[in-house]
């Protein structure tokens, strides 16, 4: 699914910002990314020549994050009451904020992942908007 803001960026940003070169290594065909040149606009009173932007490579030096995942899955009965008496009939399903606790079904785990993915998508769209705004400000200069 393509986030709408990417389309907006694809349309607006190239014309608005001053991109000297697309940064390498992004590896994403739909994501418009670039490093602004940070050139000084005509309205800049400083008058001094600006140093060219130094694009920093985005080459993700990847350290492994480990294998993740829980190795053991305690039984539902073993879950502590966390200091307070659980109401009768209380579900032991994971709280909505965190990821699924052990013992959930594949379906439930995938549903949780899908829910987080939706939030992630929203967050990244907002990130796009902020980056576009930063670009626009830099393009305005001064």
């Amino acid at each position: 699914m393509t986030r709408p803001s990417r389309l907006v960026r694809a349309i607006l940003i190239p014309g608005a910002m001053v991109i000297s070169a697309l940064a390498g290594g992004c590896g994403n065909g739909t994501h418009v990314s670039g490093t602004p040149s940070f050139s000084v606009p005509a309205a800049n009173a400083a008058g001094a020549g600006n140093a060219p932007a130094t694009p920093t490579g985005s080459g993700a030096s990847a350290s492994s994050g480990g294998s993740g995942g829980s190795a053991t899955q305690p039984s539902l009965a073993a879950q502590p009451a966390a200091g307070s008496a659980a109401p009768s009939g209380a579900s032991v399903a994971p709280s909505g904020a965190s990821s699924s606790s052990s013992g959930v079904s594949v379906t439930s785990a995938l549903a949780n992942a899908q829910q987080q993915l939706t939030q992630l998508d929203s967050n990244l769209s907002q990130v796009d908007a902020d980056m576009a705004s930063a670009n626009q400000a830099i393009a305005n200069g001064g």
Binding site: N28, A51, T56, S58, A60, Q116
Partner: protein, 246 residues
């Protein structure tokens, strides 16, 4: 003859200065005498341009202040630091009088030399577009990565790992999904690396530092961009894993 050369030189110098800040004309129309040319009047056009430049910046800073105050994912004292930067630019910060006061100063200025200096200071003392607004937006991005994006991806990582473990127990081939999750974890680590120190570094930058190094924001921009790219790649990894598991 001699007098006209001086007049011409002064006129050229004034034009060059005006051009340097995009002001045409900054100073009033040339006059017949060198004495008058040496102390030209401040043109209404220049005054309007200065006031407009300040007004635009004040408007954008006020919008940025609202944005910062409404942002709920800042880390630590980043929100307060951004508010200090913005309100300092607006109302003064000990280094500069603030754009609100500067507008009044410029409006009442009658000395051309002072006017010129004050006009320059709209840019050199504040760097609203080159620095302050990028600080706001890039810190918002870096902190959103820390507060929202990484937890999103980490939660998904856990969910997918659990699903993979269960599918594996049932004898299903989960190699592809495992690889996607491994890739996802790499992206999570990259986001953490790239955003570490970004907000602190950005918030420490001052207009004077930007004046000395116009590329001062660029490294932080690069880091934020790399983190964003990693997040986008992580999102793709998640989608691929979900597809493998469903």
């Amino acid at each position: 003859m001699k007098r006209s050369r001086i007049t011409a030189l002064l006129a050229v110098s004034a034009a060059a200065l005006a051009g340097a800040v995009g002001l045409v004309p900054l100073l009033g129309a040339g006059t017949a005498s060198a004495a008058t040319a040496a102390t030209p009047a401040i043109s209404s056009t220049a005054r309007t341009q200065a006031e407009t430049a300040i007004s635009i910046r004040i408007t954008d800073l006020n919008s940025a202040l609202t944005l910062v105050q409404q942002t709920g994912w800042f880390v630590g004292s980043d929100q307060a630091a951004l508010e200090n930067i913005i309100t300092g630019d607006l109302n003064g910060n000990g280094q500069a009088e603030g754009l609100v006061n500067l507008a009044t100063t410029i409006r009442n200025e009658t000395n051309p030399a002072n006017f010129w200096s004050e006009f320059q200071s709209i840019y050199t003392d504040y760097r609203v577009f080159a620095l302050a607004l990028p600080q706001v937006h890039l810190v918002r991005v870096a902190d959103r990565m820390t507060t929202n994006v990484v937890p999103n991806l980490t939660s998904i990582d856990t969910d997918l790992s659990q699903a993979i473990a269960k599918e594996a127990v049932e004898g299903k081939n989960v190699q592809a999904a495992q690889q996607q999750v491994a890739n996802l974890e790499t992206q999570i680590a990259t986001i953490g690396q790239k955003t570490t120190g970004v907000s602190t570094g950005l918030l420490a930058l001052t207009p004077a530092q930007w004046n000395a190094n116009h590329g001062a924001v660029a490294p932080y921009w690069g880091d934020v961009q790399a983190a964003d790219s990693a997040a986008i790649q992580g999102e793709k990894d998640v989608r691929a894993a979900l597809e493998d598991l469903q």
